[in-house]
């Protein structure tokens, strides 16, 4: 089935992104010093912006990632 349409992939607001980081830190039981958080959150925001560019790009449902990648 062809679903090639412009997907909606809004960049989450910074509060939501921080909650996502909170959940990841808690579930992985990572020992994070409070002083590191601003830097971690800034990095995650940059990743989320990059991901939004990817997520908004329409791809056919049938387009699999090649399991063996040899360029």
């Amino acid at each position: 089935m062809n679903s090639e349409k412009r997907a909606s992939a809004p960049v989450a607001d910074s509060v939501s992104l921080k909650l996502q980081v909170d959940a990841a830190i808690a579930s992985a039981r990572l020992p994070v010093d409070a002083e590191w958080r601003a830097s971690i959150d800034a990095h995650f925001e940059a990743i989320a912006k990059a991901a939004a560019l990817v997520m908004e790009f329409p791809l056919e449902d049938e387009l699999d990632a090649a399991p063996v990648f040899s360029a």
Binding site: V21, I25, A28, L30, W36, A50, V54, M55, A71
Partner: protein
């Protein structure tokens, strides 16, 4: 006479003819490292005893009349994420120093030594290869031999510095998002990132398996090709290593470029950089008579997808270490890895699927052209410690943005030779010579033509 500018090919010819013995080459190399490494901080380990023993064995073989390999007596060093028997593979980290020593050399070390080259040590790098600067909080920054207060580029910074300083004619590095091409550009040497899967990664500490490559640095295209040829061949110990037959490149490098369709990259690859970077590309295109420009579609999105995959796979690899020894990481690396641990699977899977889409578009382009030229970096080597730069009027953080032109290429595993270009009296710049998958020989032929015409040149720094 062997000095810092002597090529591996010249050394091999002299050793083979008996004009010089391998032990003398090694002793001269060790003396040069002892004298100059304190300035450039390229080496983290020097395996002097091993190198002398290897040299003595080589000289004994020659005395017996045995055939010597094509790199006989040529000293080389490897980024310290590649295993060296007897040393812990630190991969630029503090944490890995507690690992037991490697029991065996990495696959590429074994192959270079089988060709007669002599390992002399391990090279500085950014922690766990998550780096474009060549800085390292544990070992200190590697320093650009052409301007010691400037970055070498990363993460294979020690590899670029060792070759540009004339400490060794050959070095190995790794390239996940640009870590061979960036230090080649900043330090002014030739670097080859082969096709993904072409050279075995067995016996090296990984970073992002989807994108990791190993490859050589050299001061001449012939040395680059000779080292590449010596390292080719499948390897069951690396699950992505190709089963293709070896395709030696060295015999072809003098063939010229008249039968190659060469184009420069427009669009994304012609913006977001300092003017001099594009001047370097123009110098190359003029020399080659290139008039055509092609657009690699969605270059920015490809870079974004590589960024997401890198952060996610890197975080997954290091999760236990983050849990157990977070305080022992370089803070700049640690914070990015922790951020990467929060990436949802849907982002990574979409990025991998986009990679397939992008690869198919690029393969279509290679129906029309054989080689594409693009800048290697958006700037010359920044100063060590510099955290921001201005590209196209926008202030950006240095560390993640040095690789904006390299990431979209390694993302789909294309082979690239980074060639050093000097546009004025300042620091060098790099141009990526990009070929179709498995066509390293095309990129090496173009690089050799540029070297022969003097447009691309790897200079030994005056130190």
């Amino acid at each position: 006479m062997i000095d810092g500018s002597t090529s591996a090919a010249e050394i091999a010819a002299k050793v083979a003819s008996g004009a010089v013995n391998a032990r003398a080459v090694v002793d001269a190399t060790l003396a040069r490292i002892a004298a100059l490494n304190p300035k450039v901080n390229a080496f983290t380990d020097v395996v002097a005893d091993r190198a002398r023993q290897t040299a003595d064995a080589l000289d004994a073989r020659r005395a017996r009349g045995d055939a010597l390999g094509p790199l006989a007596g040529a000293p080389f060093a490897v980024k310290n994420l590649i295993d060296i028997a007897g040393l812990p593979t630190r991969a630029g980290s503090k944490i890995n120093r507690d690992l037991p020593p490697a029991r065996r050399d990495g696959a590429l070390v074994r192959r270079l030594e089988a060709a007669g080259a002599i390992l002399v040590g391990a090279l500085n790098m950014g922690e766990y290869a998550y780096d474009f600067t060549g800085e390292n909080v544990h070992d200190g920054p590697s320093r650009n031999p052409h301007a010691l207060d400037h970055m070498t580029g990363g993460s294979s910074g020690g590899s670029g510095a060792a070759v540009a300083a004339g400490l060794v004619p050959l070095a190995l590095g790794s390239d996940t998002n640009g870590s061979i091409r960036v230090p080649s550009a900043f330090c002014g040497c030739f670097g080859l990132k082969p096709t993904y899967g072409r050279l075995s990664r067995a016996g090296s500490f990984p970073f992002v398996s989807s994108l990791d490559h190993l490859g050589p640095f050299a001061r001449s295209v012939a040395d680059l090709a000779a080292a590449y040829d010596a390292m080719q061949g499948g390897d069951p110990d690396d699950p992505v290593a190709t089963t293709r037959a070896m395709e030696p490149a060295l015999p072809d490098i003098e063939r010229g470029t008249s039968d190659l369709r060469i184009s420069s990259a427009g669009g994304y690859f012609a913006q977001y950089g300092e003017r001099d970077c594009f001047a370097a590309v123009s110098k190359v295109t003029r020399a080659l008579g290139v008039t055509r420009t092609v657009e690699l579609p969605e270059g920015g999105r490809a870079r974004a997808a590589a960024y997401v995959i890198t952060a996610a796979e890197g975080a997954a690899l290091h999760l236990d270490r983050l849990r157990q020894r977070a305080a022992d990481f370089d803070p700049a690396v640690r914070d990015r890895l922790i951020a990467g641990s929060a990436i949802p699977a849907s982002w990574v899977i979409k990025a991998q699927r986009f990679r397939r889409w992008y690869r198919e578009r690029l393969l279509q382009l290679f129906n029309e052209v054989d080689v594409i030229l693009a800048p290697a970096t958006p700037c010359r080597a920044p100063k060590i410690g510099q955290t921001t730069f201005v590209l196209d009027g926008v202030t950006m953080p240095v560390r993640p943005n040095i690789g904006i032109f390299t990431q979209p290429i390694s993302f789909v595993g294309l082979p690239v030779v980074a060639v050093p270009v000097w546009v004025d009296g300042g620091l060098p710049l790099g141009v990526q010579v990009i070929a179709a998958p498995w066509k390293e020989a095309h990129a090496l032929r173009v690089a050799r033509a540029l070297e022969q015409s003097g447009i691309a040149q790897a200079r030994v720094a005056s130190l």
